[in-house]
């Protein structure tokens, strides 16, 4: 209990969470604070490169484990199963129509890579090591949820002819989206070049990492604050509550998967975080293509304005404490 509390306080008072809070407060106060779009995009790519490369270098140092396969399979199963749970809860508790419920369910089955980044940083700060290959698990968890949610929408008979499915082009766009290519590509380069490569890139990807993450989270705070402001108009209390308890349900499923695979406490914390997080980049774009009847005014503010801030402030220390307790 004491560990959980000290982790929570340390997380809440960390520069990255405080910068996120600053951005959110600025947006709620209607300040014009904004990071230029190109800068934000550049920072996102930098963070993907850094986290992917470090994960690959860590795997090179510890060797290829059979657990990697187990962790990726567990991630795939989680991503496919969570939309089923989310959809059932949404339909029974929120009154959302089938298309909106399916779209929201896709977001909660998929993952937020920024939440993952923040969890990795929280583990690093707390001195808790983790499996480098969790980067690959994160990449694997992005897509299955989308396919399952589209199946749920078709099954609900609430979609127009031609809707509720992705063609080959759509699938390729999701599988090869820039973040995933950068993350997995950097992971592979880190794995190939190992400790020597990490030493070479260390001044670029290790020392400045925290500062860039703070600036990036300031921007995310601004965006989340705007999302929350918009969400107040379009989200019912039941839907907002779903955005707060679904991460805990997903996290619990993630913990079970981590125990079955036999991950370390650090790896368990990351698996819980991945399962608890909700997408707000890849899935919304996929939903606009494949399920345009679903309202973005519901799923975007819910994921970005409710669940993301919850995970960043309360969720991550809770997941790290739970993983430490399990381990």
């Amino acid at each position: 209990m004491e560990t959980a509390l000290s982790l929570a306080v340390a997380n809440l008072l960390s520069p990255m969470v405080l910068f996120f809070a600053l951005g959110m407060a600025a947006a709620l106060a209607r300040s014009d604070l904004a990071i230029p779009e190109a800068v934000a995009k550049g920072m996102a790519l930098y963070l993907m490169l850094a986290i992917g490369f470090k994960g690959g270098a860590s795997m090179a140092a510890h060797g290829l484990e059979l657990r990697l396969v187990g962790a990726v399979v567990a991630g795939l199963v989680l991503s496919a199963a969570m939309p089923l749970v989310a959809y059932a809860l949404l339909r029974s508790t929120t009154g959302l129509p089938p298309t909106d419920a399916a779209a929201v369910a896709a977001h909660y089955g998929s993952i937020s890579i920024v939440t993952f980044l923040a969890a990795v940083q929280a583990l690093t700060t707390a001195g808790i090591p983790h499996e480098g290959y969790m980067v690959a698990v994160a990449a694997a968890m992005e897509t299955p949820a989308i396919l399952v949610a589209l199946w749920l929408a078709r099954r609900g008979n609430a979609v127009a002819p031609g809707s509720g499915s992705l063609d080959g082009r759509g699938l390729r766009e999701i599988l090869l989206n820039g973040s995933i290519v950068m993350l997995l590509g950097s992971f592979a380069i880190g794995w190939i070049t190992g400790a020597e490569g990490l030493k070479t890139l260390s001044p670029f990807i290790v020392d400045p990492f925290k500062g860039v993450l703070c600036l990036f989270l300031l921007d995310m705070g601004v965006i989340a604050g705007r999302g929350f402001r918009e969400g107040r108009k379009s989200l019912t209390p039941q839907v907002v509550v779903f955005g707060l308890y679904m991460p805990l349900i997903g996290g619990a499923l993630g913990a079970v998967a981590a125990i079955l695979v036999g991950l370390s406490p650090g790896g368990t914390a990351l698996m819980i975080t991945l399962a608890a997080s909700a997408s707000y980049i890849a899935v919304p774009a996929a939903m606009r293509l494949a399920l345009p009847e679903a309202r973005p005014a519901v799923y975007l503010p819910l994921s970005l304005g409710v669940t993301f801030p919850f995970n960043l402030t309360i969720g991550i220390p809770l997941y790290v404490a739970a993983a430490t307790w399990i381990g």
């Binding site: 904004a34 779009e37 127009a160 031609g162 809707s163 082009r169 766009e173 995310m220 601004v222 965006i223 705007r226 999302g227 918009e230 108009k233 379009s234 707000y280 980049i281 890849a282 919304p284 774009a285 996929a286 939903m287 606009r288 293509l289 345009p292 009847e293 309202r295 973005p296 005014a297 975007l300 970005l304």
Partner: protein
């Protein structure tokens, strides 16, 4: 100056769909089009601002092309088939051009 009447098709469409829309225009051998990012707007789904969005979803772009009046139906049908389920607007207006052979 001698001017020639043409039709201008303007499509305001969601950013995730724009790649497909341009493919349709390419397949229809539309001789030229222009794509512009939209900064902010308001519609039936509420208001939005480009700077308040983290990904492509929710962003809008404007695509316009100028074609001969005889080709309007040929171009509009597949374009409308693609964008009819999405958030957006399709308009057709009369314009005058100086170099008709370009369209």
């Amino acid at each position: 100056m001698l001017m020639h009447p043409k039709k201008r098709i303007e499509i305001v469409v969601e950013a995730p769909v724009v790649g497909r829309l341009l493919s349709v225009l390419d397949d229809l051998a539309v001789t030229g089009y222009t794509v512009l990012p939209a900064l902010a707007g308001r519609g039936r789904e509420g208001s939005w601002r480009r700077e308040g969005l983290v990904g492509e979803a929710g962003r809008m772009v404007v695509v316009f092309c100028i074609i001969d009046a005889q080709r309007v139906d040929v171009v509009l049908e597949p374009v409308f088939k693609l964008v009819s389920r999405q958030i957006g607007i399709v308009t057709v207006s009369d314009v005058s051009v100086i170099r008709p052979e370009h369209f």
